[in-house]
Symmetry: C2
Subunit: 337 residues, 2 copies
DNA sequence: TAAATTTGCGCAACCGTTTGTCCAACTATT
DNA sequence: AATAGTTGGACAAACGGTTGCGCAAATTTA
């Protein structure tokens, strides 16, 4: 078989018009039962498969979703993409992939290429330094809907799905309080990050719930590097009040902090207890996993974002019904604790 | 702008034929410089972008590569896909994604959908229980080239890129021997897996190189579950010869084994030393990382596989010049060891 | 200056499918 | 039996771009 059979082929063999064959294959009521059967039988026999590229062209639709995100190999994103792919497949959409490597230029280029490939819609998690959103604004002109997830732009009138760190943080700090910890340190991220602010807010609210005083000196900002974490630990361990528990910005930070604590001769879960935020799918594989982790549900985020995009595409959702979904993070106990 | 400008638009505005515009945009020499300039200027002005779906249809080519693999969220695959995506983008190809979740039925379905989407070629890493290759044989009829990577089928006349665990294992065992270890345990995978056999072969050859005797009872097969690993550890630690080092099947197994050893009161890197195979990008974040890891270069595998596929597509490589690339694994020391 | 080339562009077909419209042949109504 | 209504299918255009061929005008060659 040099080239696959076409509708015209079938039409010729049965002395029918191409249009008739097309309708017969779609069970159009205007086509008689007899011819319908004949057509479908021959189609099966020839293993006819519609040429999707022709259909895409004709329908101006590709049943393809573009995904733009910083880095595939980060656990968070690969989980998210997994959710996206599953949701898309359920509706027979395919998924076109592009990673920005956290570079705005690459991000713009990918968006451009995807636009030319005529993806029906886009799912985007921003490169960390993207501040100019022209390449996304441009998509409006082409009526290509975009749903952002996790890393969302500071921009009005957009659809997005993101997680709120506050709720999980409240739970985390509350857990520690409940277990008797009174002096709780927090290794937070850069001050300007929304995610850091949410963690701080969560910490404060948890204290407030127990009518305890929030001590800002226990909450230190770090830069998420190993050195930054060690420095923060040093600061916390030197605090005039004796810290017995630490909320770490994420599992990477947590591990660095644990290591430092071990070096200082502290016993984990006895002298000092850690709670973290799950970036990794394998905290269960760590030698000293945190007592509990705040889960951000990347798979779910991807899935919800995709569902919204699909509803936008099917018309179930009007383009200006802006969906802004915030998924609450939640504390998850380490197995066996 | 309801719909993007087309070639016909430009033609009409300039009183030219569509064919002339098309050629002008492609810098066809038969078109005069003056008209060429005029066309290109107007095109720029209107922000003309060729409709790729039309081109795909016309050229019977989509500049799209399909990727089928078991699980995106596994570190190995997300690194591989990263390599694939980078290589593809370099040649202006896009990447269409599908995960089988290690289910053969899903794998077949994905291949079918990708065929209908007219991907130009496929990159595949098999679901672990796929034994029937009909869905791949079928692709030959449609002249859709396939390059397998990592998990390759047992099938003649295919292109593939895979890694050989033997070389890295030789290096791993040799390192331990050189450091004075004489009784080295191995927690291997299921006996029937090629990857397990390669590890065994590597172990044997390393011993042979030092004219030492290989003791099969030190090499135990496990099923890669946590329980299996604990059982294997139990077996090894009860060995009549005192084991001072262990080669673990992968980082997951390694962590479970470390945990068991700690429970038994052993001191890591003193009483017992571990060497592993890197599945995780973060052994540096483990509290007790292995002394060294055998690297399998997933990014490189993905990249090489993609390059081969692209050469196949560009005709640089004939379809029957079967490429069977084996990338040697290599021992990498943990930082600071 | 006539013939031969070259230059510059238009015409038309084509890729495979869908869909609006038209038409012939039946069938039913009175 | 003449008219109206229904049924089943054909025709053709359209989606946007590419490409082989033809043809006139401009240029070169003899």
């Amino acid at each position: 078989m040099p080239n696959p059979p076409t509708i015209k082929e079938i039409a010729k063999r049965l002395n029918l018009a191409a249009s008739t064959v097309s309708r017969a294959l779609h069970n159009h009521p205007r086509i008689g039962l007899r011819t319908r059967m004949k057509v479908q039988e021959l189609a099966r026999e020839l293993q006819y498969e519609p040429n999707q590229t022709a259909i895409f062209f004709q329908q101006k639709k590709t049943f393809t979703l573009g995904i733009v995100l910083p880095e595939l190999s980060e656990a968070f994103f690969s989980a998210a993409i997994s959710g996206i792919e599953d949701a898309a497949n359920k509706s027979n959409y395919m998924v076109l992939l592009g990673q920005s490597h956290d570079d705005t230029i690459r991000e713009q280029k990918i968006v451009e290429i995807m636009k030319n490939h005529r993806v029906d819609g886009l799912l985007v998690s921003l490169a960390k330094n993207t501040v100019d959103y022209a390449h996304f604004e441009m998509l409006r002109k082409y009526n290509i809907p975009v749903v952002f997830f996790d890393r969302i732009p500071n921009m009005p009138n957009i659809h997005y799905v993101a997680s709120n760190m506050e709720s999980g943080t409240i739970q985390a700090v509350s857990l520690l309080l409940q277990r008797g910890h009174r002096v709780i340190g927090m290794i937070n991220g850069p001050e300007k990050m929304i995610a850091s602010q949410q963690r701080t807010a969560g910490y404060q609210k948890a204290m407030q719930l127990q009518r305890l005083k929030y001590d800002a000196s226990l909450n230190v900002n770090a830069d998420l590097t190993k050195e930054g974490t060690r420095h923060a630990m040093q600061q916390l361990l030197a605090h005039k009040r004796k810290i017995t528990a630490i909320v770490a910005f994420n599992d990477y930070v947590s591990q660095d902090a644990v290591q430092y604590a071990l070096e200082q001769g502290l016993e984990i879960n006895k002298d000092i207890t850690f709670v973290s935020y799950a970036n990794l799918p394998l905290s269960s594989y760590m030698a000293f996993p945190p007592l509990a982790s705040v889960e951000q549900y990347p798979y779910l985020q991807g899935q919800r974002a995709t569902e919204i995009l699909l509803e936008l595409l099917s018309g179930k959702l009007a383009p200006d019904q802006y969906q802004q979904i915030v998924i609450d993070s939640r504390l998850v106990m380490a197995p066996g604790r």
